[in-house]
């Protein structure tokens, strides 16, 4: 029989345990005193947490892959904005169909990822600098295209738009869950996925083992760009606007989600499922902290304490394991 201690040593399980503890804590702390319905523990609120966390979550899958490979990607926030802006521009201004416009938005992500990969692999720039540059370029292009305004996608969407017969708000969480499952299987069950871990663990050893290091790195950055653009296109379609300043600063939250979900910034360790659970941990904090009376100016402090706490705990577990 598998012991509870062994089960909890699985990184995704311990992240899930932290998430459940967090939910239990806020359910207790925000328990209504005056007979009102529970402000936190209800279906509508759960959907809300999933809906907004999914924007980070989809991009965090790519961020986790990059971190596991030993790199870092600072561009997802800007790529989210640029993909949304391009989708909005094609759909609203150029009169293209929805499918073509979405394709254009996704192409932006692929191109942004490809540029990062070129700068990291053949040009040999440190990933931090390369993706910082791509972040600036993508955000700048988004502002140039919009000229500070926005594309009102909602005005051209069919009234009561329900993709595949479901409310628009459900689409993003569903896509996040499906992508998380697919990439978790890919990372754990396929040789190419395991090569990403090997690359992050020791690049020289990976090279001598016959792993095509350059191609694996290129693949990782291109996929990360594509995933960020999926988040951007969905954000634009569901929220109804393509705007250059959307998702400003989200890159740090996305990276933090991946780290909280078990990704090691020194590479070789992590999980895409853990990254998605990490975004949910942040999503619960974003949702619940504003509900605490009198805590208006304490939100950031508490989020900081939680991030540091989880990462310190992760380090302790890693030390014990080794």
């Amino acid at each position: 029989m598998i012991s509870l201690a062994r089960v909890l040593k699985v990184r995704e399980v311990s992240t899930l345990a932290i998430l459940l503890l967090e939910v239990a804590f806020f359910a207790w702390y925000l328990w209504p005193e005056d007979g009102r319905s529970h402000p936190f523990l209800n279906g509508g609120n759960a959907l809300l947490i999933f809906k907004y966390s999914a924007i980070y979550g989809i991009a965090a899958i790519g961020a986790a892959m990059v971190i596991i490979s030993g790199g870092v990607d600072l561009s997802p926030g800007a790529v989210i904005a640029l993909s949304g802006v391009v989708t909005g521009h094609l759909f609203v201004n150029s009169g293209m169909g929805l499918g073509t416009s979405v394709g254009g938005g996704l192409l932006v992500g692929l191109l942004a990822g490809a540029v990062s990969a070129i700068l990291v692999v053949p040009v040999r720039l440190p990933p931090f600098i390369a993706t910082l540059g791509v972040m600036g370029i993508a955000r700048g292009l988004a502002f140039i295209i919009t000229e500070g305004r926005y594309f009102d996608v909602s005005s051209k969407m069919p009234g009561g738009w329900q993709p595949m017969g479901m409310p628009a708000g459900w689409v993003t969480p569903l896509v996040m869950v499906v992508l998380a499952a697919l990439f978790q299987v890919f990372m754990k069950g396929f040789q190419w996925g395991r090569a990403i871990f090997a690359l992050g663990g020791n690049e020289t050893a990976a090279l001598f083992s016959g792993i095509p290091v350059g191609r694996v790195k290129t693949f990782v950055y291109v996929v990360a760009g594509l995933l960020a653009s999926i988040a951007g296109v969905l954000l634009t379609l569901v929220q109804g606007q393509g705007k250059a300043d959307l998702a400003t600063g989200y890159e740090l939250d996305i990276i933090a989600s991946a780290v909280v979900g078990g990704a090691s910034l020194s590479g070789g360790r992590g999980s895409v499922l853990g990254a998605v659970l990490g975004t949910l941990i942040f999503g619960v904090l974003r949702n619940a902290l504003p509900q605490i009376p009198g805590a208006t100016f304490y939100d950031r402090l508490i989020v900081g304490v939680v991030v540091v706490g989880i990462v310190v705990m992760d380090q302790l577990i890693a030390k014990k394991g080794s």
């Binding site: 926005y150 959307l246 600063g249 208006t296 508490i302 302790l316």
Partner: protein
């Protein structure tokens, strides 16, 4: 099992922080009278003018006796985060929402959903005119922009070159900018050399003023449709008041000191305390079945110049003590 204790400790830390920062008096108390929870949302917590709206809202709530004000907003002006918080207030079933919209069109659908769910919504400072909100309290932004433009043109003697400062995206600032531009059109000898977008960031604003002063050393005047340039004492240091005049929205400290130092010649004051107090009063009236006769309540503006500065400050002191 030590690490599991760490996990528990991790959640005790935020709990203690949350308990420490929430005073017992801020939780709703059960009394014989119907207690209302009104969410009052500025655009962000980092914009100083909104602190006075908070004072006004809390003062009005105290005067009414049966209202709890939940003052919440994103740390910085982030329209997606503001929308997420607004949706959260709907799931929490608050009794009313008063909001200053970072992007009115972006929030329209969510405001409509709140109203459809039976939660009255009023807007203040920045409107969402296409939404089902019951009322808007604040300046008529187009008219206020025209006043600012007219006063600035008079100050410049009807000729010269001017640069405009705004933050793209907010409906109210767009209207003010249109008002300024409309007034300046009446003066063919005034040429607008550039419109700067400072993205609701006072630091960025100061930087832009410094660089643009180098670029346009003979600029006759600056016109800012928000108070960012006068939110810091030394933001206008690069500007030579003998050569370049400055007209700006907003009169909150340290703007009067900046005027006393001769760096700004025209300030347009808004009804900062009224944003909060009137919004709360409107919501309380709506809950009592009393709708405002006109959905647009123009608060008017105060034109402050060095000539009437002392008189204005005396009135300000009275409002603060009230």
């Amino acid at each position: 099992m030590k690490w599991r204790s760490s996990a528990l400790a991790l959640w005790i830390a935020p709990a203690l922080l949350a308990v420490a920062c929430s005073s017992p008096g801020t939780r709703p108390q059960t009394t014989g009278q119907t207690k209302y929870r009104f969410a009052v949302m500025p655009k962000s917590l980092d914009i100083p003018v909104f602190n006075y709206a908070k004072i006004g809202a809390e003062r009005q709530a105290k005067a009414l006796g049966n209202v709890e004000v939940i003052w919440r907003a994103p740390d910085t002006a982030d329209q997606l985060r503001q929308k997420e918080m607004l949706e959260s207030f709907i799931t929490q079933k608050v009794d009313g929402i008063a909001i200053s919209c970072t992007n009115g069109d972006f929030l329209t659908e969510t405001i409509n959903r709140a109203v459809d769910a039976g939660i009255p919504v009023v807007t203040w400072d920045a409107d969402a005119p296409k939404s089902k909100r019951t009322a808007y309290y604040g300046v008529d932004d187009l008219a206020a922009g025209k006043i600012l433009g007219e006063e600035a043109a008079k100050l410049l003697g009807g000729k010269g070159t001017v640069a405009l400062i705004t933050s793209m995206g907010a409906y109210n600032l767009q209207r003010r900018l249109e008002g300024v531009q409309e007034s300046l059109k009446k003066y063919p000898e005034i040429k607008v050399v550039e419109v700067f977008d400072i993205k609701e960031d006072s630091v960025r604003c100061v930087e832009i003023i410094a660089t643009a002063t180098n670029k346009y050393p003979n600029l006759s005047g600056w016109i800012a449709v928000g108070g960012w340039p006068v939110f810091t004492r030394n933001g206008l240091d690069p500007v030579d008041p003998k050569r370049t005049k400055f007209a700006s929205f907003d009169t909150i400290p340290p703007a009067p000191d900046v005027m006393r130092a001769g760096k700004v010649q025209i300030l347009l004051g808004q009804k900062y305390f009224g944003w909060g107090s009137e919004a709360v009063r409107l919501l309380a009236d709506i809950k009592a079945g009393k709708l405002p006769p006109n959905p647009i309540i123009d608060s008017g503006v105060d034109v402050v110049t060095p000539a009437n500065l002392d008189q204005y400050l005396a009135e300000w002191a009275r409002l603060e003590k009230e």
